[in-house]
């Protein structure tokens, strides 16, 4: 309910330039809706199943693994809605018009090592006695609303600045990590140095959009420069987690305070490994 109220406030800010105008028809506007996902390893069908759901079968996973080879794999998506408007009247005879936009965007991307892909999608049974490297794997996700106002000049060159409301944001990264289970399946070794942050409250911020188009009838080419989502947000409450631990075990004991089946059932398992800093404020860049 609170998020919805904030979105309403933001959209209300956008509506201010319309006040005093007698009719909407006097304002040219456009709406763009888009959505895309890209991956250097996952084909369209697997990407669709990751996003929309469904059963991913082994041939699909094998094909993705072969495509990835020894490189980092990545998968990302971006979707959004962009409502733009501008006034017909010039602003103070400057040759520029007042313009604005409202953008709702959601961006997510994930990056993984070949070993992490195998562990996640095929399991570790085929990796016994092998070292699995996890370095550089990452996951980011953000959704935000951007309401901006600015000026549009000749050739639709445009500069806008506005407020950003980011209801959700996640950023997680494994800086270093490896995983090993020996061929007898009687010992496991792992190391992880990673950090993650989850927004607990919506973030506020400012952002700038800019476009510059080189369009000349006598020129043999056109050049377009677009800057989008250049801005910062302030997160009033963000949970931050960090882990930098190596663990080696041949199995858990039945009873014990931390590394045991008893602790696993009580929810106390591995509690000493994770450094948790709840409800921190933080500044961050828009994705």
């Amino acid at each position: 309910m609170m998020k919805a109220r904030k979105c309403t406030v933001l959209l209300g800010l956008l509506a201010i330039p319309f006040l005093g105008l007698t009719q909407l028809d006097s304002i040219p506007w456009s709406v763009t809706v888009w959505g895309q996902h890209r991956s250097n390893t996952l084909d369209h069908e697997m990407g669709r199943k990751l996003v929309r759901g469904g059963f991913i079968d082994q041939p699909m996973i094998q094909a993705a693994g072969e495509t990835q080879g020894g490189d980092m794999g990545s998968f990302g998506y971006a979707t959004g809605l962009d409502l733009r408007w501008k006034l017909n009247r010039m602003w103070r005879e400057s040759g520029a018009r007042v313009c604005g936009s409202v953008q709702v965007k959601s961006v997510g991307d994930i990056r993984w090592t070949p070993e992490l892909f195998d562990l996640a999608f095929t399991g570790n049974a085929g990796h016994l006695g092998r070292w699995d490297v996890l370095d550089g794997s990452r996951f980011r996700y953000a959704t935000w609303v951007h309401a901006a106002i600015g000026l549009e000049g000749k050739y639709q060159n445009r500069l806008e600045a506005g407020l950003v409301l980011q209801p959700a944001g996640i950023n997680a990264r494994i800086h270093n990590g490896y995983f090993y289970v020996d061929s007898e399946v009687d010992s496991l070794l792992g190391y992880v140095r990673a950090e993650a942050a989850f927004n607990q409250k919506p973030a506020w911020g400012i952002a700038v959009n800019a476009e510059w188009h080189f369009l000349r009838e006598d020129a043999p080419f056109a050049f377009h420069l677009r800057l989008q989502n250049v801005g910062v947000t302030f997160v009033p409450s963000q949970d931050q987690f960090a882990v930098d631990t190596m663990f080696q075990t041949s199995g858990l004991t039945f009873a014990g305070e931390s590394w045991s089946i008893e602790a696993l059932e009580n929810g106390d398992f591995g509690r000493d490994l994770l450094v948790s800093i709840p409800a921190q404020s933080a500044w961050s860049l828009l994705p």
């Binding site: 028809d25 040219p28 456009s30 759901g53 059963f55 996640a120 009687d186 199995g251």
Partner: protein, 518 residues
């Protein structure tokens, strides 16, 4: 999509477009879970059972130790039974009732504020005590009181116990009752907690026994302007109920009380140890009685038996005088009497080798067999009662024949969607004896047949680990189960143990599991 102000008069296409967009978005938001199958192979449990794990089940006492070395030794030095003397640890419940009635008829007669109608000092006598207690400290206890008045005026009642103190402050009851309506009694009731109270039981005179000095004062409150109207039929009643008085310390003369002594100690619970033979040849086994009471005792142990089989000992049936303990402040030097258990006929540890269930000891003790030699200065602290101790040392050497250990594990179900694989059990034996394993996995789900497992592990160092593969599927993993394990030990002749021996049990999961991301 562009909207030009010159051709946007007709909004119908726009509305249709927005409706279509909303439909696409709504349909697009319907997402099912993403699922895929992985094959996992992970170690899950790695636990060990040592001598301590096996023997600790015999007693929860931390006095038990397993000493490792070329020849391991099990040592136990601690209490095995305490001697409770009920007559010294709890005082009987006692009720004291007082009633004040005017010595006239008719009325009303006015009683001014601040008047005292009754002021009396009396001893509250604890009945039913054969001992002559002079003081006690209570572990717990309370007084439930009830005060009633039919007087047409305020009543001030004070019940003072100058000889009962808690942290140095005398216990007292102060009650002010409002006027009665002439029909019903005004009532006040409540409880006084006596936990930790020190009570002088020498009464008002200071020379009595088993009595609490008390002072009862009944009158009218001085700070109330109304005059009480008293009739000849009025009455003021007070009832004090001393309840559940458990003693921490007591002194006085404890009398010549005979207290029976009947100890029955479970040695091998047949649930955990169904049978077999373990050769037990201790190098020391001393049964010791420690008298911590500052009163003489005449102890006579009449019977020692193992699962009903009686054994003889030169000291059995012979009265033994155990002198009083010496108390110095909070420190006690107990008087000690000992019996060497290696001198029994037949040898008690030969009987214990056959994994008996019970060892029992019967006898009796007589307090103050020589009378009041202390002049009423017997003393008992219930936190340190007289007790039987066992000082035991058993070098770990001997033969073991089909010694059986039974354990039952309750296993919670786990929700592993689509799991299909095996639970791999690996047992490694560090004991120089052969182990045989029989286990039954009984599921709470009646549709699942129980699994029976069996195998043997050869003696250390040549025995190979026993590996069992238990088929598991989603249903079996999900169902709670009870795993009953029977382990049977067998040595080929006498063996020596170092105390380092252990059985290692490893569990691992191998199989397919369906990952589901909602």
């Amino acid at each position: 999509m562009m909207n030009d102000c010159s051709n946007s008069r007709n909004k119908a296409p726009l509305l249709m477009w927005l409706a279509s967009l909303a439909l696409v978005v709504l349909v697009g938001c319907v997402r099912e879970a993403t699922r895929w199958e992985v094959e996992i192979a992970l170690p899950l449990v790695d636990d060990q059972w040592t001598w301590s794990d096996v023997i600790m089940d015999l007693t929860s006492d931390s006095q038990l130790q397993v000493e490792t070395g070329a020849l391991g030794v099990i040592r136990f030095n601690g209490p095995i039974a305490e001697w409770n003397i009920a007559s010294l640890t709890q005082l009987p419940d006692t009720i004291v009732e007082q009633e004040l009635t005017p010595e006239f008829t008719g009325g009303p007669f006015p009683v001014p504020p601040g008047a005292v109608l009754l002021d009396t000092e009396e001893d509250i006598v604890f009945q039913g005590i054969d001992q002559a207690f002079t003081s006690i400290v209570l572990e717990s206890g309370h007084i439930d009181y009830l005060v009633e008045s039919s007087t047409d005026g305020y009543v001030d009642l004070q019940y003072l116990f100058p000889s009962v103190t808690i942290a140095g402050v005398p216990v007292e009851l102060k009650v002010v009752l409002p006027p009665s309506n002439g029909v019903d009694f005004q009532i006040e009731e409540g409880t006084l907690d006596l936990a930790g109270a020190t009570i002088d039981l020498t009464g008002v005179s200071g020379n009595e026994i088993n009595r609490i000095a008390s002072q009862l004062i009944i009158g009218t409150p001085a700070n109330i302007p109304d005059t009480a109207q008293v009739y000849g039929t009025d009455s003021i009643r007070v009832r004090m109920h001393f309840q559940e008085l458990f003693v921490r310390e007591v002194s006085g003369y404890f009398g010549q009380e005979t207290v029976s002594f009947d100890v029955e100690q479970m040695v091998f619970d047949p649930v955990d140890f169904p049978g077999g033979f373990v050769e037990i040849v201790p190098s020391r086994a001393v049964l010791e009685f420690q008298n911590t009471i500052a009163a003489d005792l005449r102890l006579q142990l009449d019977q020692l038996a193992v699962d009903g089989i009686q054994v003889n000992h030169p000291l059995l049936g012979q009265p033994q005088l155990v002198t009083r303990a010496a108390w110095n402040g909070e420190d006690v030097e107990p008087a000690i009497w000992q019996m060497d258990l290696l001198e029994t006929q037949p040898a008690i540890f030969d009987l214990l080798s056959y994994v008996p269930e019970w060892v029992s000891l019967e006898g009796e003790g007589l307090l103050n067999p020589l009378g009041d030699v202390s002049g009423g200065h017997d003393y008992f602290d219930t936190r340190q009662p007289p007790a039987l101790y066992l000082d035991f040392e058993w070098p770990l050497a001997g033969a073991i024949e089909n010694f059986e250990i039974r354990r039952t594990l309750d296993i919670d179900g786990a929700d592993l969607v689509g799991f299909d694989g095996e639970l791999v059990v690996r047992l490694s034996n560090g004991f120089p004896v052969n182990w045989e394993l029989e286990a039954e996995w009984n599921y709470a789900d009646e549709n699942l047949d129980p699994l029976t497992l069996s195998g043997s592990v050869g003696s250390f160092p040549n025995g190979e680990p026993l590996v069992l593969r238990i088929p598991m599927d989603e249903q079996r993993v999900k169902s709670p189960a009870e795993l009953a394990v029977n382990l049977r030990m067998r040595s080929d002749g006498p063996v020596e143990f170092t105390g380092h021996e252990r059985i290692r049990m490893q569990l691992g999961f191998e199989g397919f599991y369906q990952v589901e991301v909602p």
